[in-house]
Symmetry: D3
Subunit: 337 residues, 6 copies
């Protein structure tokens, strides 16, 4: 993640070479490099980005806020809702900004759809699907397969994006209850056809797929589907499908969007061209999603605009995911009261 | 429904003209016509088909069984599980055959998939979707919109087919619990774009969409989606999607089918040609689904084969649908124990 | 053309067999048959349909109006504007209804587009294309090729539909001037590849293609293209293309429609589903264009609604076509003062 | 524009940095750099390329010819026909070569079509369309939007290419008269969806679309359509469509081509593969359009071939465009005699 | 096969019901019916059609010619070349016409291609493929599977069409030698997926696929592929592919055609529209292949034109097929000296 | 060809610059460079790659083996079977490894298909097509067109790949006899449309297309088609098509694959996804074919695995191609015994 108009001056990793590499990639080697994040937090910095395994999102972010830094923390906000609330508390006490890295909100299709939702085009959204289904794309590097360090697999890793998009479009953060199921079915397979090469069955301790059914306080339903490995052809990731009283919306794939409804007594589909126009010899100019994310955070720090991802929203995502994991364990609904 | 190799000799409808019409269409006017089904049951008949509104499926079928007739009853088996059990009891006492009209099981794609499932090609099926989603296709004739006579709308009318197919393929009739939601959101609309013309908002008392999440005793999940009217482009009806430990299956639309899995370390899709082959000047020979259904019933009566739809299976479908309606009312799961 | 809810009781053709045939087809032989239309007009009839070659549209319609009949006359209204004005005069004096058979206005795409135009969705329409281009589809029967009887070829025969649709959507009947060109280039060809078999070069006296550029008093432009025979692959008939200040519309082929514009800073295309919805086993219910045309006329006669095609509008179509033919002859613009 | 086999030794721009940049890009910094083109013309150079705003095409080209240089001037040749004639005069007096940068003539589709036209495959071309329609692709940089500096918008900027291609294929440079319309309708819009970002409404003084109808002395018609911004889905640029007595030709998009006609009494379409063939691991060898343009000019200077774009032809393009602008102002045809 | 402008007055079949049925279908019951063809030949008839199993093509045709009738015999002409020559001898002695029912020559694609070949468009054709490949379309009725009655399977049944088309287009009837292979590999399969239902393995005595390589005296090669049942996706029947010195031709499927070659140094594909043109509401007029075949024969009898299928040509087809069967048996080439 | 994990230390070419260039490209200039390969063979090298014209494959490989080097020789193994056997003899005497560069075996489609064949999925393969058809892609550089140096054209250059793949999949190296034809038909053409520019007719002494029909000892048939220049649209290269008793396989183009057969009485097609899976933002990891080839050779030298291309197999390919050339010369079959 590059932040424009912003100087990156310090980098930290428990493996020094990685911090050095980042220093060269993002600061042409002029930054300082740390092995212990607590040392880094002593520096005179405006803001800190937390890009560590899920287990340390909360403690590092809280320490950073305590140290008086603004914080952008990668998604998911935390391993569970208690941690997420602790982060919000730290934010409140610090008076600093806290935001979460849900970069899919900055995609052109997401921006267009959010504008439609805010304009009331869809009416009251009462049914939605949050989808993050991969056929065989298990991330085999880093700690992704490690239950202890990550707190879960596809549900917490990519399901979190789909659910965040969905809640954001519905502008509905009041869940009533959730049920869920979580599977470890394909993690012992060999000759897997996996996008990143075969996984190590011994290390693959997180779930390979997880599903949930969430009922909101206003009666709306959200069906959540997530998988890294599943025998299916319905592969879509980081997308939401919405059905409202006035219109519906579908993202056939991340980056594309259609709106549907009834006009003059006829069913219609409206398809926006999400590229920036373009002519024969030119593809159009577009800001990259990740640059827009970084710019938005930088501007908010400078008081020039609002955060686009409020941590209170991200906390609800984490809360619901925790509810699904909980329901899968107990075989009962998890009530949010 | 025509039954081959079988003589149709009696017809009944509370509106006499309809019975007369059927007599001419199916028996060239040589059959007897009744207004009261109890009179018809006094005739010397082998079997009776029950094609009435849902509310009378159980009482008429039970009377027919008591009268010593074999019975084919339209889907859904009954308005609720209690009625369905009563039908099974009557069947047991009568020693006659009882079957339910789930004709989608006789489609070429269903037959092929069932054979694959029985051969173990999919392995253990742990995740499934039963889908019956229409955008605007509300049946405006007869009693379809009448809560009292039908017991529900799209869930009991077309969701029942999708769920039956799903359970049948999984060969799993042991539900643990279900949650569900039911909506009446578009039934007041005008200029509706409906396939069969605008509905009468006053008469439209059943739901327009309903959704459920079913957890089976063996841990498997079924997501059930049904609608007559919904703002969506994901329109599919009477289809199931299955994910097993060895392979998956998808019906892109009713009548088409793909199998997916991993072979030699590569993802594959297998597509059967469900037509009967064919050459340039010939489309191939095929038995129609409905003829196959009738033939199977007729043969079973003659002792030449088994029923393809066991009423015990249909009773479970009715039981689960009742659970979803119940959950939608209570806001809590419905446990089957 | 069948008229529902209306009894057809008299038929006329200078070739008696044709009138007899129509009598059997539309009145089961119970109607009266005439060879001279003046005799028919003495009958006690509410309305008359004029379906003769263009040359007799005006005289017969005027006689019918004088005889106190409502009149529906086939398109084009007349061979020239003077005749068209005479028809309007006769209509005014008679107090009866006069309408013209522009049935393409009743197509679902036309009805949808007209509703959008009336709602101001397109804004001010300042550029339009009226297109009626066939590659090789010269009507070789009847009097279509006869300059004397028809007054022209593709321009007056099919260009008239495209121009009528265009003016109707623009709701703009004030032309300033027109220029045009008319060609007789392929009418001597042999082995023509024509849809209805080779034409007779000797009889083919009308133009094979004609083009016009029309400037309206409010500054709008209409480009009119028409051909029965042209070396081209851009084949479309009875369609209009509109560019307005707020949105545009295109009919890729007669019967299909897209709306285009800008929304949330992005280009969009809106595609209505012009069929009546439909589910797997049902195509939806639709009124046929020609039935709708006849019903509308019958209702207007009964005072239950307005004519959908005002003869004043049709007169302007005829006026502009005359201007294009005139410009092609003189090599100068034809001004409508 | 790079010229092969040719040394580029001098560069000029009123903004020095740009000239310096070109010097480094095209001459590795070894060239001379000028701010005043009159100084450059004192150098010992064979040829000069004029790539300035339209307003200075004529004066600089004339000065260069007077200074004894061969000249390649960007399209359009000049702001008006009087200037173009002055350039021809200067060329005649100088004895040097003058050519105009219509590089679309060097595209593979253009080269193929020209060869067909020259071979008489199309016969006599009597109807043509010159098309340069963009939906929202207004060039927002430089002086493109400045009426004073450019003399117009899409008509003179891109319509000029489409018209040049059309006249060149027809080999017809004898216009009789033209009518036209010019619009400023969308230039005040905001959130424009423009390919190069929103324009500044205050600076956008040229037209946003323009249309013309041109009648040639031999009776042929050319319909010219051009836009930078128009509510339309019929987007094509730098293409021509031709209808001749023997065959037709269409460029679905710039770079592709089909020929159509009748053969053995059947309609046919002939599609050339305009790439250089190619096999699985190789895309074929092709000369780039712009290289071919430069090579042709360089060879002509060396006496090894003819110019491919004669300035007399370019002057007619400018003449016709002037006629269209004139007709739009007066509301009358512009006669060329 | 219906013959227009011709009265069918006598019908014969060894199963009387079939002859009766034909009498009603083609002669409204007014014809005479025979069980023994020798009786029929005593009637006063101009011409006779022979539609029997292959084994009796020659004897019946010869008897008919001896009886002074013109003869149209179904393809293949005979089971072997000796019989075919005997038929030619009988034809010569009788002075009557003999033709063979290769109706694929009358398809629009065949007619177009023949015209191109005759015009020399393809130049000298030196490589061709005759293709008649079905995946699973074994004709299970009649005597098709009976080696004794038919003389072979797909090679003599459908390969004969493909080879006839190929020789006819090449206008080359001088084979030098042929090699071939013949397979009985799938005829014992069950659950066959066959277009006409499963075959009876016991009765399936002919080959299921056969292949040949034919070298003509002028050095040209023909590859012949035929199958009723083969594990393949390259399914095409009754088509030829030609490569000549000037151009090539391909029939992607029976009824479609493309011509390919080089023009202006570019590869091109020419695609004729083989339908009769057509407009939005009309598909064009076309003579059916079989009607054209019958008309051509009837006209030839009346002296109004030539036979389109010369029996000498059909004899060469039979001769080559015999050669392939022979080569398959001996494992050596079959030389035609 | 790069060999990973292997140091390239010596390069040889009779044109020194080329050897120098390779030294810089593959060894960063640290290797030794030779003009005479005999000098190179005196170096202390483990293995040698022979990439010379076909004429020197055998002598250099034999010298290299004699010098105690492992050898990878480009395809075809040799100009004829006698040379190939001499290479095998040299290999046997040297005790070193010899392999041939048939890199198409390492493609993902080939690897998948080979695994299926080895698993018996196709059953007994009795019909196959080896296809290497280019339309106009004659290699105009080097010695490709030189009969003397190469021993032939497309048959020996690319037909060799298709035949090798076919035999390898069939695992059948026992040919009975072959017939063939060889053409020099288009080599005198001008304006050729060739992928690599027009050829020099004087230098083009090899064939432009060649075809063969090969019968194996077990009765199987292989049809071999090869061309560099042919008027055809059926362009495919380095592909095989297989028909077995249990299933079939087709490579629509090199790199893609489908398997076909019958399952549950229905025809099916199985399509493997030959890319390495992949998600939205990632294309999957794949080893390049050529790297896999080099790694396999390097591992075999190190005793870590088998050669994937046995020279005995390549010798049979050469033997069959020689048979086809021979048959084309004699007009008779070439028997292998």
């Amino acid at each position: 993640m590059k932040i424009r108009d912003v100087e990156m001056t310090a980098f930290c990793d428990i493996i020094s070479e990685r911090a050095e590499k980042a220093n060269h990639e993002y600061a042409e080697g002029r930054g300082k490099v740390f092995k212990d994040y607590r040392e880094l937090l002593k520096e005179d910095l405006d803001a800190v980005c937390v890009l560590t395994p899920n287990i340390s999102h909360a403690p590092i972010s809280i320490d950073a806020l305590k140290a008086g830094k603004h914080v952008m923390c990668e998604k998911p906000m935390a391993k569970n809702y208690a941690e997420a609330r602790a982060m919000l508390d730290a934010r409140d006490k610090s008076g600093k900004l806290l935001t979460i890295g849900y970069q899919n909100r900055y995609r052109p299709d997401s921006l267009f759809l959010k504008e439609e939702c805010d304009n009331g085009v869809l009416g009251n959204i009462y049914f939605a699907k949050a989808t993050a289904i991969r056929r065989r794309a298990v991330p085999t590097w880093g700690v992704f397969l490690d239950e202890e360090k990550q707190g879960g697999g596809p549900l917490i890793d990519i399901g979190t994006h789909a659910l965040d998009l969905t809640l954001f479009m519905m502008n509905n953060y009041e869940p009533a209850y959730a049920v869920g199921t979580v599977y470890h079915k394909l993690n012992k397979d060999k000759k897997t056809g996996n996008a990143w090469g075969d996984w190590d069955p011994k290390k693959f301790t997180v779930e390979d797929s997880a599903f949930g059914f969430i009922v909101m306080k206003n009666g709306a339903t959200i069906i959540l589907q997530s998988s890294w490995a599943l025998n299916t052809t319905e592969v879509r990731e980081a997308v939401t499908t919405l059905s409202g009283t006035k219109a519906g919306a579908d993202m056939p794939q991340a980056g594309s969007l259609t709106i549907n409804g009834i006009k003059n007594g006829k069913q219609y589909v409206l398809t926006p061209d999400l590229k920036a126009g373009g002519v024969a010899f030119y593809d159009g100019a577009a800001v990259k999603d990740s640059d827009l994310e970084a710019q938005t955070f930088a501007k908010a720090i400078q008081g020039k605009g609002k955060l686009y991802v409020q941590p209170e929203e991200a906390a609800v995502v984490t809360r619901i995911l925790e509810g699904i994991y909980d329901s899968a364990k107990t075989g009962k609904p998890h009530y949010f009261n």
